[in-house]
Amino acid sequence: MNVRHLLALAAAFGGFLAPFGRDQAPAGTGPALVAPLELAGWIRDRRPGLRVVDLRSTIEVRLPRGERFVPEERFAPQSTVVLVSEDGAGESQRIWARLRAQGVRDLRILERGAEGWIDDVLSPTTPSELSRYFGGVPRLLAPGETAPPRKVRAALVRGRGC
């Protein structure tokens, strides 16, 4: 058996096992998510090519670096686009598919949308440095107390952040 045969065997082995390899999220299947605190880290660290696209019709709590969605705009394929909706569902899934077809490869949806940003960054139950950076105030709950309704929390934190 010579080198050519060995290489062919290695290629056949790698190719045969490929369908059993763990699939990655952007492989043409479902949208990839980004956690609110991870996005906060990207915004603070000025991640190159980051675009935070806000799909909400009414913006009560603005995200830093957030920009309105313009349907005609074409994003650079190498940019990282994070879609923000009210709750991370609905509209963001449709726009995700559309931008995906445009060729944007690193395309994420903000987990739990703006509500997730409020819950984890602006009004978290556990204080964190990132939360403080964006003006977050820890939510103090008495034992047994549940979190206040989202609408109330949104009103409490409105206008805060960068």
């Binding site: 790698g14 045969f16 490929a18 369908p19 390899g21 763990r22 990655q24 394929p77 190498q78 060729g103």
Partner: protein
């Protein structure tokens, strides 16, 4: 642009090193010879097919398994966009030039570096073409940006998992190589 571990200066050095390695591989594969390259179009010599398909399979398996092992973040790799009409026109012009010259831009550099006069003249032709296209770019811009289709990949286009596409391409390559081993006439 995110250049990872290397940074801007390191990325430039890596690009130069890859360029030299690419040229060396082309020369060692005998692709600095216009006669051999033209043989591909007349179906008398399949060296180009073998070399290029081997490179495709190597890159495909490397990128696939490195990403699956967590060593490569595939979505961060640059993926060129598809523009149907301009790329079809460009492909036809490129193909015609390659048949006429017997060399492509990369192999013309290899041929020139090894002292072949035809390689040098093809390089001059390529650079002249780049200059003319650059000077007339504003007129070509509308055509260049027409019929956009986004950054297409086979898994997205066919709606099948990446692993299946990888297996299919590798199987196709191995079958083709086996077929050529049996039936290619010795040159």
């Amino acid at each position: 642009m995110d250049l990872g571990w290397f940074g801007p200066d390191g990325a430039l050095l890596v690009a130069v090193a890859i360029g030299f390695a690419f040229g060396f591989a082309l020369e060692r594969a005998g692709l600095g010879s216009a006669r051999r390259l033209s043989g591909q179009f007349f179906l008398t010599n399949f060296a180009v097919f073998r070399v290029m398909f081997s490179a495709v399979v190597t890159a495909l398996l490397g990128a696939f398994w490195l990403s699956r092992l967590g060593l490569l973040d595939l979505p961060r790799l640059y993926l060129p966009e598809t523009f149907l009409a301009p790329q079809l026109a460009g492909g036809l012009i490129f193909g015609a030039g390659m048949v006429l010259a017997g060399l492509c831009p990369g192999t013309s550099c290899v041929a020139a570096a090894t002292g072949r006069a035809d390689g040098l003249f093809v390089m001059l032709g390529v650079l002249s073409g780049v200059l003319v296209a650059g000077l007339g770019f504003e007129r070509l811009r509308a055509f260049q940006e027409s019929t956009p289709r986004g950054a297409l990949t086979l898994p997205v286009l066919l709606g099948i998992p990446e692993g299946v596409v990888v297996a299919g391409v590798v199987a196709l390559a191995l079958l083709a190589f086996r077929f050529l081993d049996r039936f290619e006439r010795p040159s």
